[in-house]
Symmetry: C2
Subunit: 243 residues, 2 copies
Amino acid sequence: MNVTQTPFGLKLGAFMNLTVEESAELSQLHSRRKKFAHGTDMIYQGQPKQAAYVLASGWACSYRLLSGGERQIISFNIPGDFLGMRSMMAHNTDHNIEPVTRAEASEVLAADLSQTFKNSPRFTAAMLWAISRDEAILMEHLVGIGRRDAKERTAHLLLELHARLKLVKMTSSSSFACPLTQYLLGDALGLSAVHVNRVLRELREDGLVTFQHGEVEFQDLKGLIALADFDSDYLDQNGVLLN
Amino acid sequence: MNVTQTPFGLKLGAFMNLTVEESAELSQLHSRRKKFAHGTDMIYQGQPKQAAYVLASGWACSYRLLSGGERQIISFNIPGDFLGMRSMMAHNTDHNIEPVTRAEASEVLAADLSQTFKNSPRFTAAMLWAISRDEAILMEHLVGIGRRDAKERTAHLLLELHARLKLVKMTSSSSFACPLTQYLLGDALGLSAVHVNRVLRELREDGLVTFQHGEVEFQDLKGLIALADFDSDYLDQNGVLLN
DNA sequence: TTGCTGTTTTGATGTGGATCAATGTTATCC
DNA sequence: GGATAACATTGATCCACATCAAAACAGCAA
């Protein structure tokens, strides 16, 4: 299979066109495939070997648990995302990553990665781009929790997921399959699951989006974008989407 | 001056010992010095040239403005921090960085940086470490805003700043100089300045910390750490601090 | 000394979202 | 067909923090 058509390839393609050699290099990284079932952590505190993964299929989420038992989901991960850069670089891993659905991922060894960095400066740049983009997503998430109310926040997240999934060709024009429960949404949005439910109902009643039976459908995309004050620039993929 | 004693050198030193050659390489990056006054943005939306900086002295903060006029401070930056990685990699800059005090920073050109990456894989790793660490700080911030109450959050931020400043030798054992206003704290913590004031008073009355006249003083460090549920692991600098 | 400007402090009142407690829905398995 | 489990929905009550308003204070310029 052509690597440029994998989710990871599609994503990096938003930053630059991959040469034949780079595609080959990428295939290497992409070889050691692993499967994860719902309920088993992919990355966790105190794990023996520092590993990183490229998510090939399925969704995951990274989260932190507080001593009081509450949890905060840091980010949702979709196919093409690179997981665990931090657990590879840092001496302690302080957050967990668990699959939301069944998931497949390619394990990336630190040695291989640094070899690839050496071989291809352009690939290095692309990885830095991907990392910065993840950071931008995190920032936007922070802004949402800090300064947007529950409705705006929820709308924003749905719009973001739509845009990100679009990049890896996992959407139809105005809907996408979404395996997240209201509990997961709550843990990500800093809301109770109960309140997430109310917010989703309001959005539905306003004729903006519906989220039912694992499917998010946008009824009024413009209205939703206005409500959420959503500007996709931070995802840095507009050039690609316009093509 | 020995680069290893600059804040940036001290910080990277937490990850690895710099060789003589690496120090030289680092000095190169560190040469084009610029000054910034309070009130002029260092990095802003739509700026002509993509630049990055290493903060040499003074404090800064990066923030996002919402259409409603509210702002969310993403992070506070102290000497040794690398600023603007994202504005260098991405096609659009979506957040601003402004100095909190007068500040000096070394401008880093994209070309120089990628050259340095090519020359020194170890430096590349150190930069990735620094980036991951920034991401971890951001995550912790997110967790705080999402799941901690105002008092815990405030305490946590003060403890984090103390630990980070320690790494670049800008603290005394139980206090540090802090140029932040209560408005800035509020914008970072997702609180109103009024509420920040009340929280600071409570912390003072509890005999935990005082923050007055630009000086943060810890009265009961253990108590504060317990209150904030603070675990410095995420800063990945414990090994260094123990030496 | 007198402002002027930015910052801190305190009080009174209002609200978004948490929490508690049920009930409804759907899927799965026997 | 009933039992069980996971998830979604709705109502009632409460509190942490926002918002509004005003005063006290510090630093600085003239």
